[in-house]
Amino acid sequence: MHRSNHFNFSRFWSYLKMELFRSRKGIWMVFGISFGTLFILGLILTPFIEQDMTIYDHNDGYTFHILIGGFVLSSLTFRDLGNSLKRYRYLTLPVSALEKFLCMWFLTTICWVIVYTIAYYCFTLIATPIGKLLFSPLKFTNFNPFSGIALSAIKYYLVIQGIFMVGATHFKGYILPKTVLTVIAAGLACGIIFVLFLSDLFIAEHDCAGYECEHLSTIGENKFWSIIKWIFWWALAPVCWIITYQGLKEKEA
């Protein structure tokens, strides 16, 4: 079969423009809610709540909102599939499943990370002087989008975001809560297995004081744990993307 039936740049570009136009309200809402809560809850209320705060940095706000905002957008990627009337047009639109997937992947990963980071940086340029004016003894640090914390947040987002794309193709309606519930259920199942296998080890007497736990350091050095970490960082996202693409290809009305 002709290659253009899987990917054609001009068609991809038209689809990207169409999706951006169609999602414009959703994108503005996510930005509006993100920066609204960042300003009101993050900047104005936090210094009141945390009276002993001496330095205000923007890293927590950035991490929280890039994850939550991105997950919301990712779970909206294939929203037409959840609506029986919109589904017909979506599935019969002359765009390949690969193009649909790549477009939404591109918008919710690369575009979201770049646009949100730039917007957040601009927000901090405005928020910092306002914060200094309102809370003069408090020291405000500038936001560095290339700092370790920011880059780490992006890394986590890019890995976990795929789960929400899977949810977007496989759930009908209430995609975000359903995906979150599934992740929690999977986490609980893993936790139970972990407890079943390792409960004896932790019940036995060992050196443990808060984060410094003898067994946790031993587990961290274990080969099995290295495999889990490798799966999380390198396999989870590609597997989720493949499942999403297959889900799109096999979707019926």
């Binding site: 068609r11 047009r89 019969t92 765009v95």
Partner: protein, 278 residues
């Protein structure tokens, strides 16, 4: 153009709707797909357009397997369902966004249809009436120059002048490389437009004939009394007599009423098929 071989499909396991269904639809016709609710019309249309996948058998539309949903295939079909959603944007914007996916989209043709239907391009789609939305979708679908236009209950929601306008536009838009499939319950609205006529019942094609054959084999007349010579296929009591369907042994020219034909086929399939076998 559309070739269906041994198609099996069912929504629930073990309860097949289609069991080894065969159908061949050459290009250049306006096919009328008639059937009761649940006969399988919409399901068949969904399979033809790649929205549902067959469990068994082959479906070939314009040289493509619909279930692959390749863009080259999808730009050759346009589906207008009975219920649909249109975004809350202006017509012109819709065309600007969606037409690039159809390589042969003709803006002049689209504008001509829009003018004929007396629609305003600057109007928001969400502000149009149901009938106007259908007219818009039909204009867009025809302007794509697709080879297969599939219409599910197209005349629902159209007023009387719009129905005849709709028939006129479809009749003018058909050509030898193109086909329309119209699924409907409103058989009367489709009279003098659809040819051949396909009637489905419980997932089976129980009747598939063109008008020429129909008028040669069947006669529909109004009579005061029912014939007693065994030629009666179907009758409906009307004011002061009966409308009857009989075998056209005398090769009379009679007016065919689609609704009565449908009732005749559904109520006496065996006899109708016997007549057409001869």
């Amino acid at each position: 153009m559309i070739q269906i071989e041994d198609l099996s499909f069912g929504y629930s396991k073990g309860i097949p709707l289609f069991d080894h269904l065969n159908l061949s639809l050459p290009a250049g016709n306006i096919y009328g797909l008639l059937g009761k609710n649940g006969a399988g019309k919409s399901t068949l249309l969904k399979i033809i357009t790649g929205l549902l996948f067959p469990i068994e058998g082959k479906v070939n539309v314009e040289g493509f397997q619909p279930q692959n949903r390749y863009p080259d295939f999808l730009q050759e079909i346009y589906l207008i369902t009975e219920e649909f959603h249109l975004p809350s944007i202006k017509m012109a914007r819709f065309v600007q966004l969606y037409s690039p996916f159809y390589q042969r989209f003709d803006h002049d043709v689209f504008n001509a249809y829009i003018d004929e239907f007396k629609l305003v391009k600057e109007q928001k789609l969400s502000n149009l009436s149901y009938g106007q939305k259908k007219k818009f979708l039909l204009s867009f679908g025809l302007a794509t120059d697709c080879k297969l236009l599939v219409l599910d209950e197209p005349t629902n929601g159209l007023d009387i002048p719009s129905k005849s306008q709709f028939r006129k536009i479809l009749a003018n838009a058909i050509h030898e490389d193109r086909s329309f499939i119209i699924s409907t319950h409103q058989a009367r609205d489709m009279e003098n437009l659809i040819d051949p006529i396909i009637i489905m019942e419980e997932g089976k094609i129980i009747f598939f004939q063109d008008y020429e054959q129909l008028s040669r084999k069947l006669a529909m007349t109004k009579q005061a009394k029912l014939p007693e010579d065994g030629s009666l296929v179907y009758s409906e009591s009307t004011f002061g007599g009966y409308t009857i369907v009989t075998e056209n042994k005398k090769m009379e020219e009679t007016n065919l009423n689609l609704e009565i034909l449908f009732n005749a086929v559904v109520s006496n399939t065996a006899k109708i098929n016997e007549i057409f076998k001869n």
